[in-house]
Symmetry: C2
Subunit: 464 residues, 2 copies
């Protein structure tokens, strides 16, 4: 039925379900008056929501991504790993073995902190990045997203500041917003977070009497910017955070996915007391088990376990034993090499297609990870352009998703992780056509590129 062109029909009721500023509550009693809801459906519980809930909104781009998931659309938007290289038959046999031989454990409740054997194996993984820790320091989480949630939960009061790179991972910004934090961005360049800018930002915040709780950073193959924090800057960034008493949250899902280099030493390898480290099997193995982890200083780790028990009781034993058995019986290091080759080939396809079709844009050439960060030609607005791109059967994430204040419309994130190289080239070709059309419009009518939109909104897990 749909060929050649996608008609974008946006369900506005889904797109912004909770417009407007926080509302007054009235004694917890739900209002049923029509005036209370401005959406297309009344919500009798509108006045009963917690203060934090008023900031939870479905992203405006969410409905577009429902369309973007159609097979005829080349999605350069998602952060889904490409799993077709996994040995599914071996993994099936492994899954059977876990249930047949350790089923009474796999199917039962487990420890809130996570399986001890898996925690020991996680140490082996982290040792590749120079981290020396004890199994007691590790808490297994439902993906590293849960680790982010727990760290924020135990540290952030409403109004506290989280300092983060500009741009930052959209899923982290969503967590910080959910806990009513204020995010202050610090610029990055080709070597990652700028230490001088970090220092002056922290100094300004201290002078303004603000409470800064966390420095959130993705030091390797940054999402969305693709850059890595240089080895030289790592101790400097750490020293600045220490000087201001700010806990460093090192989020490292991509560190082992470098294309041309050995893994860099983690910030956590320099300091066990001032860094909370987040890791994940989602990109180095598979996200479907939802197994991530957090390494934290002793007392912080205790709080994280209590918070996790309150949130989910315990992580899935079935998932943990599957991962643990994979690590002990499969060639997980070899699989990471497969992934690196695969993503390097896709990265090459992406940057060569950009050079061929979009020379008027600018971008970095990431040496690992999943993402290219593209600056559009002057005057173009990536968020405004997105519906037209989806209509032209290509999707990306506009830069606005990665800034707490919704700025960043002059950028877009192009992911090269999931589509084949051929599809990546086709996607960039389509994108070039959309950009050409936008430039004509700009020449005719001007633009509002770079304008800030409302706030961080949840685009859904496809985009993360």
């Amino acid at each position: 039925m749909l060929r050649g062109r996608v008609v974008v029909t946006c369900d506005t009721a889904r797109m912004t379900t909770q417009p407007g500023p926080p509302r007054e509550t009235s004694g917890g009693h739900p209002t049923s008056s029509a005036a209370a809801g401005t959406g297309t459906r009344l919500d009798p519980w509108l006045s009963a929501y917690a203060e934090r809930t008023h900031g939870m909104r479905a992203s405006e781009i969410r409905a577009l991504f429902a369309v973007a998931n159609r097979p005829e659309v080349v999605s350069l938007a998602g952060g889904m790993p490409f799993l077709e290289g996994l040995p599914l038959d071996d993994l099936a046999e492994l899954a059977a073995r876990v249930v047949a031989t350790r089923g009474l454990q796999a199917l039962q409740y487990g420890s809130g902190q996570g399986d001890e054997t898996l925690r020991e194996q996680i140490l082996d993984v982290m040792r590749l990045e120079g981290i020396d820790a004890h199994p007691d320091d590790v808490v297994v989480t439902t993906g590293s997203q849960q680790a982010l949630d727990l760290v924020t939960r135990i540290f952030v009061d409403p109004g506290d500041v989280v300092v983060a790179e500009a741009p930052s991972y959209v899923g982290a910004l969503g967590v910080f917003r959910a806990y009513q934090a204020d995010v202050v961005h610090v610029p990055i360049d080709a070597d990652g977070l700028d230490p001088d800018a970090l220092e002056s930002t922290l100094a300004s915040l201290a002078a303004a009497g603000r409470t800064v709780k966390l420095l959130y950073t993705v030091p390797n193959f940054h999402n969305p910017a693709g850059v890595s924090l240089s080895a030289e800057r790592r101790p400097r960034v750490l020293a600045i955070a220490q000087r201001y008493g700010v806990l460093v949250v090192e989020d490292n899902p991509y560190g082992l996915l470098g294309f041309d280099s050995e893994p860099r030493a983690a910030i956590r390898s320099l300091d066990a007391d001032g860094v909370v480290y987040l890791g994940s099997f989602s990109k180095t193995f598979a996200p479907g088990y939802r197994v991530g982890w957090v390494v934290a200083p002793h007392a912080v780790r205790e709080k994280l376990v209590l918070a996790s028990e309150s949130a989910i009781l315990c992580p899935s034993n079935a998932s943990q034993l599957a991962i643990s058995t994979y690590l002990s019986t499969a060639d997980w290091r070899g699989q990471i090499k497969v992934y690196r080759e695969q993503y390097r080939e896709r990265r090459d396809a992406m940057v060569s297609a950009l050079a061929e079709h979009l020379p008027e844009a600018s971008w970095n050439v990431p040496d690992g990870g999943f993402y290219t960060w593209v600056r559009l030609p002057q005057g173009l607005d990536a968020k405004d352009m997105l519906p037209r791109a989806v209509t032209a059967r290509v999707a990306y994430v506009p830069g606005t998703a990665f800034y707490f204040d919704g700025s960043g419309a002059d950028h877009m994130r192009l992911s090269f992780c999931y589509p084949t190289p051929e599809r990546i080239r086709e996607g960039v070709r389509r994108l070039a056509g959309v950009v050409a059309g936008e430039r004509e419009l700009v020449e005719l009518f001007g633009t509002n590129a770079g304008g800030a939109s409302d706030s961080v909104q949840s685009p859904g897990p496809d985009v993360a």
Copy 2:
């Protein structure tokens, strides 16, 4: 090495890691002075924690349960289902099939709301309790504990009131405390929550200007009290909640595990707009996959999805597809019958052993679920007695765990779900010996039974 008697050595550093009231923070800068920490280890981040974190404490009984998990101890404490009746070889084959045939989906990220096929199958499960819903109304969660966390997250501001049965599920009380709610208990009797007491409690709270957000209830085979809300009371409880504009949170993990009766109609079957319903596969199948769900009114459901994406991105596809395949290919109704028979036999063992060995106590005879709620003879304190019970190689959960203010020391929860009938009888026999010793002490020295201790603390997932 250990025979006949367990020596309880409590690691006090683990038992209460965070004593004392909330502390002043000082601009987010961690203090490193020795005075800041009263525990045995210094926590350099003590002053940086969020306000909510100061209420997070490891339970004093937590360390005891580490001992109680030794094989020589009969644990009547845990809420772990007895899984040895599961057909592990069939489940192993099923697990392999999921990965071999649907591996690219099982191992990938999924939808924040949960797998659509599974959500449709969940409707079949809920239909057994008279619930008529749409797959769109369902959100799949990481166990129903996560559903509790998400519901509380979107509704409860610090200081809001949650009304709950006296006693209430310890894991729910922990969630309410984590969001800084105030829990007000309403008495129950043999027919469950007392509607008159509910009405007068809500009237008093309204008169006092308190904001009541949720009525939390476990209507079937209550944890810990073992009673069920009568069919006659269900519409009354609902009508009272509606009149006061309070959302009912119906937590129903045990509803299909009645020993002698067909499942009762859920409160949710009476009203789709005023009830949030929580379900789980943990007790009717297996907890190791961590798959539960929540059914909520449309707008509330949208908020829950956004909150869940922020908390974990998405539930595990691997777990969801395993459960979904189980529901579509295995005799899940037959397995529930197996569980019912199994738990009925254990319940019988429990109550006959109580009658034989502890006639001076009183208890209910639950007709479903996992728990007996036992009132100790006058003057005995279940919390004080616990270390001596564990020394005598039997464990239970003192009633104090199930009250927000730590009252309830005159009760204990005895679970009959996990040990064999022989072990249950042996456990009660040991318990009777401990009680006899306590009564001698009471006669000699008096007691402080029934006194309130500090607050709800996390005893860990073993106890939930």
